[in-house]
């Protein structure tokens, strides 16, 4: 790679290969980000353990394929289902137990799940180098001059499908409307006859499945390492934060931006080693913009 001085921006041809990576990463961040936002809106829980959930799912899949001789497709399915199952389990117990509390408390609680999963992964699988290669990861075709493989395409495609599919789902289906009702006002939704527990359970399950899928894809795009995958949740988080934990389309586009900026910083030598800071930098810029006008929460609504 050509050594670039600080002001020498990489050329288009140097950046090109990283566009595919960036979009793929962005797609996965969108996947995870959308799951987080929907869960947050429905239950008030910002699940910071999503990265850990995906990581563990991926490690389980690795274990099944390499040490139990399971067929790859089945193992990947297990990974995704594991994501759904463990998230649902957490939600059923701790989601309910902490239901009335501040979102900050709920998010902090999810850190408990993160540590439990991280510790378990560390204990069972330790730090050995592993890789999980999806059959779709061989370079498949070229778009222009860029080599693209199916995994990257699936990642981006899934991100698009999930984002806009979820939008449609929330808008047009009964369950989706119920989720939006919960997001708006949990208590009123309950008095209107919305089956709150059931709806929340669905939100937990689906967001968990998405986390599992994201873990699987990321283990391919980035690498199969428990700590790395766990904290890649930060990238999805940045996207969700930029969307103010509200808007799905913004989550999607922010995720793409995060993915692209991270990937395309690779050939730019002065910042290349620091490119994983991109989500942090982008989120801070977004926050500075958001906090221009301060909002204070006021007690006592009626008056």
């Amino acid at each position: 790679m050509v050594e670039l001085g600080f002001l020498d921006l990489p050329s288009w041809s140097q950046l090109q290969p990283f566009i595919a990576t960036g979009l793929a990463l962005g797609g996965v961040y969108a996947l995870s980000g959308v799951g987080m936002v929907v869960l947050y809106q429905t239950t008030g829980v910002l699940n910071l353990a999503f990265g850990a959930v995906g990581a563990m799912g991926a490690l389980i899949a690795w274990e099944l394929v390499n040490n139990a001789g399971m067929a790859e497709g089945l193992a990947y399915l297990v990974c995704i289902l594991f994501g759904g199952a463990i998230t649902l389990l957490y939600g059923a117990f701790f989601g309910a137990a902490l239901a009335g509390r501040d979102p900050l408390v709920k998010a902090t609680a999810s850190l408990g799940l993160l540590l439990i999963l991280l510790g378990t992964m560390s204990w069972i699988w330790s730090d050995k180098a592993r890789s999980l290669t999806l059959p779709t990861s061989d370079p498949a075709f070229t778009v222009g001059e860029i080599f693209v493989n199916w995994t990257q395409l699936i990642a981006l495609g899934l991100g698009i499908v999930v984002t806009f599919g979820t939008l449609a789902f929330l808008r047009f289906t009964n369950l989706g409307t119920a989720m939006r009702a919960l997001a708006n006002d949990r208590e009123i939704a309950a008095t209107l006859g919305v089956p709150v527990r059931k709806v929340e359970a669905q939100a937990w399950l689906v967001s968990g499945l998405l986390a599992g899928a994201a873990g699987l894809l990321l283990s391919n795009l980035v690498g199969l390492d428990a700590a790395t995958l766990t904290f890649l949740v930060i990238s999805s988080l940045a996207a969700a934060l930029i969307a103010r934990l509200r808007s799905l389309p913004i989550t999607f586009f922010a995720a793409l931006v995060v993915g692209l900026v991270t990937a395309m910083s690779t050939p730019w030598t002065p910042v290349s080693e620091y490119r994983q800071m991109a989500p942090f930098v982008l989120a801070v810029i977004a926050l500075l913009w958001i906090s221009r006008k301060r909002e204070v929460t006021i007690p006592g609504a009626s008056g």
């Binding site: 204070v296 006021i298 007690p299 006592g300 609504a301 009626s302 008056g303």
Partner: protein
């Protein structure tokens, strides 16, 4: 005096305050109206938590809205909240002293002012008592003490008697009546208890749907038909 002119507040699709114009002349002024009329929103505008879409508030000739929220306490604004907010982990003394020190008042007079305020509202326990151990009535009184310490210029009391039994409401009324003369400042009292309002307030303004529908000497206002109608089904007029 406090002059409010064409005040307008908009939240999303709602207009809690819709062209409110009123003057609070002095002494103790009542502000009443059915639930949702905009009274607490009005207080929130005065406190600086809500930015009005239009209108002005001039307090003793100064533009109140131009000041940053926390600076208004330094100017002399004090306020109580619907749900009492006396700080549980601090002592009674510290609760009141805190307002004194953050309002830029001199350290030299602090002890005197704080103890004076506690005396004024009638709190007799050891000021070192931790507030968290006290009952609702005492905490209410601490809130009032915090609102009157150190020569305030404008005291906003938001339903100070809510949940108190009749006897204590009357006692509270006595305290409130004495605020303008003893501690200085203009008092605006929001409450649903009409007997409290008529006991303390010389003038009263009535809000309904964010608009002023009546204003004047309390006795007359409470007898007006419009006012009774506004309250029909929610509260009984005096």
């Amino acid at each position: 005096m406090i002059e409010v002119e064409n005040l307008e507040v908009r939240f999303g699709g709602v207009t809690p305050i819709d062209g409110m114009t009123v003057t609070f002349p002095g002494g103790t002024c009542g502000l009443i109206g059915p639930n949702g009329a905009g009274k607490t929103t009005f207080f929130n505008v005065l406190s600086g938590f809500v930015k009005p879409a239009a209108g002005s508030v001039r307090a003793y000739g100064e533009d109140l809205l131009a000041m940053a929220d926390f600076r208004r306490a330094r100017w002399g604004l004090r306020r109580t909240f619907q749900t009492e907010q006396a700080i549980e982990e601090l002592s009674v003394y510290d609760n009141v002293a805190m307002v004194h020190e953050h309002s830029g008042l001199s350290r030299a007079s602090r002890r005197e002012d704080v103890l004076g305020a506690l005396e004024f509202v009638g709190l007799k326990m050891n000021p070192g008592t931790r507030t968290g151990t006290l009952g609702a009535r005492d905490r209410r009184l601490i809130e009032v003490a915090r609102a009157v310490v150190g020569q305030p210029r404008l005291v906003l009391l938001d339903e100070p008697a809510a949940g108190l039994p009749d006897e204590e409401t009357v006692q509270l009324g006595e305290v409130i009546k004495r605020i303008p003369d003893h501690m200085g400042g203009l008092v605006v009292l929001v409450d649903h208890d009409m007997s409290l309002v008529s006991a303390c307030c010389q003038t009263t303004a009535v809000l309904d749907f964010g608009k002023l529908i009546a204003d004047g000497p309390t006795e007359e206002v409470l007898r007006e038909e419009q006012v009774m109608r506004a309250y029909l089904g929610t509260e009984n007029g005096a």
